[in-house]
Amino acid sequence: MCSSSVIAIVDDDEAIRAALSSLLRSLGYEVRLFASAESFLADSRASPDCLVTDIQMPGMNGLQLQLAIRNRRPRLPVIVITAFPEDAVREQAIAAGALHFLSKPFEADAIARCLSEAVGGAR
């Protein structure tokens, strides 16, 4: 993992954003937080090395975000996290190009492995 790898976290739940931020920073990543898919897409400076996004959010959901970002950054690794890990949602996320699909709550090692795979190398 490169110490400068930037991970964008998109989740409407403030507590989840804060917790993920702390965890990913403890793993050595730089973190950018977004409360909605729209705010992530609107931020022209957001050029993360990996996107971690929730599925169910007001407005644009995580699956729609995946499709929107695919045109702009087709090679951007996306990790989907959700409290509703139904098979159909998982299949949709993977079909839309998600690298990994994690069910909340997840263990730190699980997301650490996913991120390591997404941005290369591991701490």
Binding site: D13, E14, A15, I16, A18, A19, L20, S22, L23, R25, S26, L27, Q56, P58, G59, A83, F84, K104, P105, F106, E107, A108
Partner: protein, 466 residues
């Protein structure tokens, strides 16, 4: 009318007056009687759908058939073949002995019902005197008998189970009812039980008792359809309940899993900050602090869910409305802050105390506050919720106003319907439960809104006695 196991041993037909009836002639006479007698029966059946579930539909067919027969029967007597085509089984029965007892009691000015109640042995004695004197061809189809002679004779021998309903017939006659009607079951010769609708216009004089015309309509298919429909309805209801439980469970799971996920992630983060070669105590402390906050949030979710779903006893007590509102607001403080919503609570001077169950009042207020916060999620700041309490006649009226997007006019009443939700992941029970809670207090809950300028939920509670 019911089982007829002894149809094979029908006695020689003998009329009550000792003469031998001539099957066929009696039916012709009865058909004419039916034409007259069924007018009120048909009208009664048409107008009475309560006594027999769905009876109006069945009776409509009967009434229409009879009306059609009557229309044609103006110039000629309704013939047996008409009744057969209509699927109406006609039994001509001789109840002369019953008539004698009832009419003599009446003539003496005695209470007929009381007399029979005092002499129950009369039922059995009189039942044995009743005779079937004629039946129509449709009755042969209905019972499976090959000849009318099989069905003609003493009612008790031909249809032994008629003893079970005989008391009801006597009671109707004793009361002076115009019409007897009941559902019954008749066993065909092949042993099959058929559901029937039995009707008769009850006689007024002895001649009428001697020629009682009983019509029987086979409603077995209709009853079977009803039974199948009841099973389908039960299944649909069960499936609906199961689906509701599923949606409810998913919603609760989501509500609990979110803070739980934050607890796990923060705890893992804290461990990693502490396990660094140079532990970062500041970051670890912040993560552990967040664990506490997330755990409390999970507790609040569980408490709110319990409040929402438990049917706690309603125990109203005198309380200060503003105190109850503020204590309820604490339960959703985190959500309000997350939504950047500013809450203001005001009580107008002179607002009396209310009589309310504090748990249920909290349930109502927390639901309305969460709804308000969610309604303002896409609104520009400042996002304000104003709760105002004031005296309103003998009640206290509380308004919960937000600065959200408002409610469309076509939704303003529907939002209180159970399982109506405007939220993608909502289950739509919150406002329905709120309304039920308020109404349990004797109050009202409603909403007003100017689309684009926010919504206001109003509820009233009875003021405590001064």
């Amino acid at each position: 009318m019911a089982p007829a196991p002894s149809l094979d041993v029908a006695p020689t037909p003998t009329a009550a007056d000792g003469t031998t009836p001539r099957p066929g002639r009696a039916i012709e006479r009865a058909a004419t009687l039916l034409a007259l007698a069924c007018v009120p029966v048909g009208l009664l059946l048409l107008g009475d759908g309560d006594a027999l579930a769905g009876g109006a539909v069945l009776s409509l067919g009967t009434g229409v058939a009879i009306a059609a027969l009557l229309a044609r029967g103006r110039s000629e007597a309704i013939r047996d073949r008409d009744l057969r085509r209509a699927g109406i089984s006609i039994w001509i029965e001789d109840w002369t002995e019953v008539g004698k007892v009832i009419l003599s009691l009446r003539a003496e000015g005695r209470d007929v019902q009381a007399h029979f109640a005092a002499h129950p042995e009369l039922f059995d004695q009189l039942h044995r005197t009743v005779r079937i004197t004629d039946v129509n061809d449709s009755t042969l189809d209905f019972t499976g008998a090959r000849e009318k002679s099989r069905l003609i004779g003493r009612l008790a021998d031909v249809v032994p189970a008629s003893a079970q309903t005989f008391e009801r017939w006597i009671a109707a006659m004793a009361r002076g009812d115009r019409v007897y009607r009941s559902e019954s079951r008749v066993r065909r010769l092949d042993g099959e039980l058929r559901d029937c609708l039995v009707t008769a216009v009850l006689p007024r004089d002895l001649e009428g008792f001697g020629n009682l015309l009983v019509s029987i309509i086979d409603i077995s298919d209709y009853k079977a359809d009803q039974a199948r429909l009841a099973i389908i309805e039960r299944e649909a209801s069960r499936a609906s309940r199961a689906a509701t439980v599923g949606v409810l469970t998913a919603s609760i799971a989501h509500e609990v899993k979110s803070p739980l996920a934050a607890v796990v992630t923060n705890a893992e983060a804290a461990l990693r900050w502490l396990r660094r070669p140079a532990p970062d105590l500041v970051e670890a402390e912040a993560a552990i602090g967040a664990v506490v906050g997330d755990a409390l949030r999970a507790r609040d979710v569980v408490d709110r869910t319990r409040l929402l779903l438990t049917n706690a006893p309603h125990t109203p007590a005198e309380l200060e409305i503003v105190d109850a509102i503020r204590s309820a607001a604490l339960l959703v403080d985190r959500e309000l802050r997350a939504a950047d919503a500013i809450l203001r609570v005001r009580a107008e001077p002179g607002t009396p105390r209310v009589m309310a169950d504090v748990s249920r009042l909290r349930q109502v207020v927390t639901n309305l506050l969460l709804n308000a916060a969610q309604a303002m999620a896409d609104s520009p700041r400042p996002r304000e919720i104003l709760i105002r309490a004031q005296a309103d006649g003998e009640d206290v009226r509380v308004e919960v106003a937000d600065t959200g997007t408002g409610i469309a006019p076509d939704r303003i009443t529907r939002i209180f319907e159970p399982f109506y939700s405007t939220k993608e992941d909502g289950i739509g029970v919150g406002l329905a439960i709120c309304r039920a809670c308020v109404e349990a207090h004797g109050g009202r809950l409603w909403a007003t809104s100017v689309p684009g300028a926010g919504a206001t939920f109003h509820f009233t509670l009875p003021a405590a006695p001064a």
